[in-house]
């Protein structure tokens, strides 16, 4: 999979639309060049990590079982990161996704929801989690877009209150999932690949298409790059901003379902600090924190780098503290590189 460079020159939405066709041609020829160029660093980083894994852990690292372990670990944060990519590309930030994940996992596993699911179908639990996520996302979006609350503050408030609400609903107890159909589906696998990894893959593909092949994606980039220009070009910036947070909330809801499937239990502590993991993966992946440029492939690579790092460290009995240091170094190096790229492209235009 590869992708085109979705940076647009800041101001000119209408001109950009006219240039759409040649841009597409250029995109195809420049596929390997621009996108791969940007992602090459990530691929190399991942390859180096894998090499370290192979050297230090040998067969234990290379096996299919271990690769699936890495992917299963990556899946939940991966889905959150896809949602986060849209928000950050739109020049926003969402600190609430981890808490919303916890809230949706709790809400979908209450006695009432589970009884309803037993009586009807386990899809009720999925629907509940997605609705909770979507609802929280819409609240974020409305506060930010129409209430003009700074994204950092609005989502910080949601982060705290969603966690609190989850604790109230669960009474700080762990709610075990008893619905067998739900457990069978989410702990099962299809074609040898676990359901969670499939969900991550499908969400990534949908995210990629949405960002790179639709008007919605184009508008996201425009809103993030220069909201004033986007507004002048006829984009309803407020509504679009709200959509972006709703999307991140929906992704958190999906994450909640996945967490339920993985742990077979809803808990208000689920997803703690996942927003930071997601932001780190997105930024390391090459999406600009300032907005205006986003890459789903980069995000997926960023997520994989972090989960491979965790895996390699565990394989080698290394402490969480050393791992935290390594993560920090990776984030700083990635952002430094990003700034250089941004400077170069600014000099270019």
């Amino acid at each position: 999979m590869s992708e085109q460079d979705v940076t647009i020159p800041a101001a000119d939405e209408s001109a950009r639309v006219e240039k759409e066709a040649p841009a597409a041609r250029e995109r195809r020829s420049g596929l390997l060049h621009g996108a791969a160029g940007r992602n090459l660093g990530l691929v190399i980083a991942l390859a180096v990590l894998c090499l370290v894994g192979v050297i230090t852990a040998g067969d234990r690292f290379v096996g299919t079982a271990n690769i699936l372990t890495i992917l299963r670990l990556a899946a939940v944060t991966g889905v959150l990161s896809i949602g986060m990519t849209f928000v950050i590309t739109g020049a926003g930030i969402d600190l609430s996704v981890g808490s919303v994940l916890g809230l949706s996992s709790v809400w979908a596993s209450t006695v009432a929801t589970q009884t309803m699911a037993q009586d009807t179908h386990w899809i009720v639990m999925v629907g509940c989690a997605l609705l909770v996520g979507l609802g929280a996302g819409i609240v974020n979006g409305v506060l930010i877009a129409y209430g003009k609350v700074v994204a950092f503050i609005a989502t910080l408030a949601m982060m705290v209150s969603a966690r609190g609400l989850a604790e109230i609903i669960a009474n700080r107890q762990t709610q075990v999932v008893e619905v067998q159909g739900f457990l069978d589906f989410f702990s099962g696998s299809f074609l040898g690949v676990p359901a969670l990894v499939w969900i991550f893959a499908v969400v990534s593909v949908i995210g990629w298409v949405l960002l790179n092949r639709t008007t919605f994606g184009r508008r996201t980039v425009a809103v993030g790059g220069n909201p004033e220009a986007a507004r002048l070009a006829g984009i309803n910036v407020k509504r679009h901003t709200m959509y972006l947070y709703a999307l991140a909330g929906l992704a958190a809801g999906i994450g909640g379902v996945m967490m339920l499937g993985r742990t077979t239990a809803g808990s208000s502590t689920n997803g703690q600090f996942y927003e930071l993991d997601a932001i780190a993966a997105v930024v390391v992946g090459g999406t600009l924190l300032a907005g205006g440029r986003g890459t789903i492939v980069g995000t997926v690579l960023g997520v994989l780098i972090f989960s491979t790092l965790t895996n390699v460290f565990t394989q080698n009995n290394l402490s969480i503290s050393a791992q935290a240091v390594a993560k920090g170094v990776i984030i700083v190096v990635a952002v430094l590189l990003q700034q250089r790229i941004a400077e170069r492209s600014r000099a270019g235009t």
């Binding site: 234990r60 372990t69 077979t264 600090f273 895996n311 460290f313």
Partner: protein, 352 residues
């Protein structure tokens, strides 16, 4: 009945070759003609068998929550130290994490690595049950420590502390010390109130006080942290101008509680701690604060888990029991430590 387990062993041996190998090695390593090593035997006074003698190599995977609390830090430290005492144990230690997603992947890695046993203190018992069952199905001996799985079949053996017993021990000690003073004011500083373990401790405490006609007159809850203990104790001391005894659930938060007591300049009561940290035991030994006793919640549970995992894989039994298999569940005792017996417990105290 006594022939039962033996016959079962025979059947198992005849049945599966894997089981055969395990049982045979288990039997041979227990035979008396195998000379026990002197150092190993010396390391464990009171052992009545050659259980500590090096046997087949055992690979144990160990995973516990992040060491963000003195007691939890001691859990990991003592488990690693215990594994280091055995030349036949190879410990694979996963980094401590409070993220169940990561902890599940650690167990998955242990399964991939085909370890012989897993000693697991889950961040959340229910959340780790599924993956623990998976490990059991893969033929790995799982030893569950402290926080129970939602399905007992997900572990071969469970090592638990006794939270209710902690409350009972603390209550009985306070009853003894107050010696029938029926109007005594007894205060309680609990940990995180919504946790089942806190509720168990408080219930045990109330039940034991009830036996001697006392009740908890003031109760506050903190959060197992120094600052939380400090804040809770400060408000408690404001609310209760005169007290006879205080039980504080946790020695880590006890550091803050003692600071608050010192700030308030109060010394008309005595205080009982909980968990058994080294600084609290030192204070009990020095006997120059209001702290006169503490109730132990063993931080060596995971170390015991490591020992049991080794015995299980090597097919040995607990040598001080007649039973030829390791028990299904081991619940540890919650003794009261006072100035009189503190030296006995100091070696197992943890640094907070």
């Amino acid at each position: 009945m006594s022939a039962g387990p033996l016959r079962r062993r025979w059947l198992a041996a005849a049945g599966a070759t894997a089981a055969l190998a395990l049982v045979v090695t288990g039997c041979t390593s227990n035979t008396p003609d195998e000379t026990p090593s002197d150092t190993a035997a010396a390391a464990q006074p009171g052992a009545t068998s050659d259980n500590d003698a090096p046997g087949d190599k055992v690979v144990i995977g160990f995973s516990a929550p992040a060491a963000d609390h003195g007691w939890m830090g001691a859990i990991t430290k003592s488990a690693v130290a215990e594994a280091g005492k055995f030349s036949d144990v190879e410990l694979k230690q996963a980094e401590g994490t409070n993220d169940v997603n990561v902890q599940i992947s650690q167990i998955e890695q242990f399964i991939n690595d085909k370890v012989d046993a897993i000693v697991l203190l889950p961040f959340d018992g229910a959340a780790l049950t599924e993956v623990a069952s998976k490990a059991m199905k893969a033929g790995i001996v799982v030893v569950n420590v402290d926080r129970e799985f939602s399905d007992p079949n997900a572990a071969r053996t469970t090592v638990l502390g006794d939270n209710y017993g902690m409350g009972v021990s603390a209550g009985q000690y306070i009853c003894d010390q107050l010696g029938g003073k029926s109007d005594a004011k007894v205060a309680e500083i609990a940990g995180i109130d919504s946790l089942p373990l806190t509720q168990d401790r408080s219930k045990g405490f109330a039940d034991a006080l009830g036996q001697c006609g006392l009740k908890v007159s003031n109760r506050v809850a903190a959060d197992f942290t120094v600052q939380g203990g400090n804040a809770a104790a400060a408000s408690l001391l404001q609310a209760a101008p005169k007290l006879d005894a205080i039980w504080n659930h946790d020695d880590d938060q006890g550091v803050g509680v003692l600071a608050a007591i010192k700030d308030a300049g109060r010394d008309e009561f005595f205080m009982v701690g909980g968990a058994g940290s080294k600084n609290v035991m030192d204070a009990i030994k020095a006997d120059n604060t209001v702290l006169k006793a503490t109730v132990i919640y063993p931080s060596t549970q995971a170390a015991d888990g490591i020992r049991l995992a080794r015995l299980l894989v090597q097919g040995k039994a607990m040598s001080d029991l007649v039973e030829v298999e390791v028990p299904r569940k081991v619940q540890l005792y919650a003794p009261v430590v006072t100035k009189a017996n503190v030296d006995q417990y100091l070696p197992t105290a943890f640094e907070s």
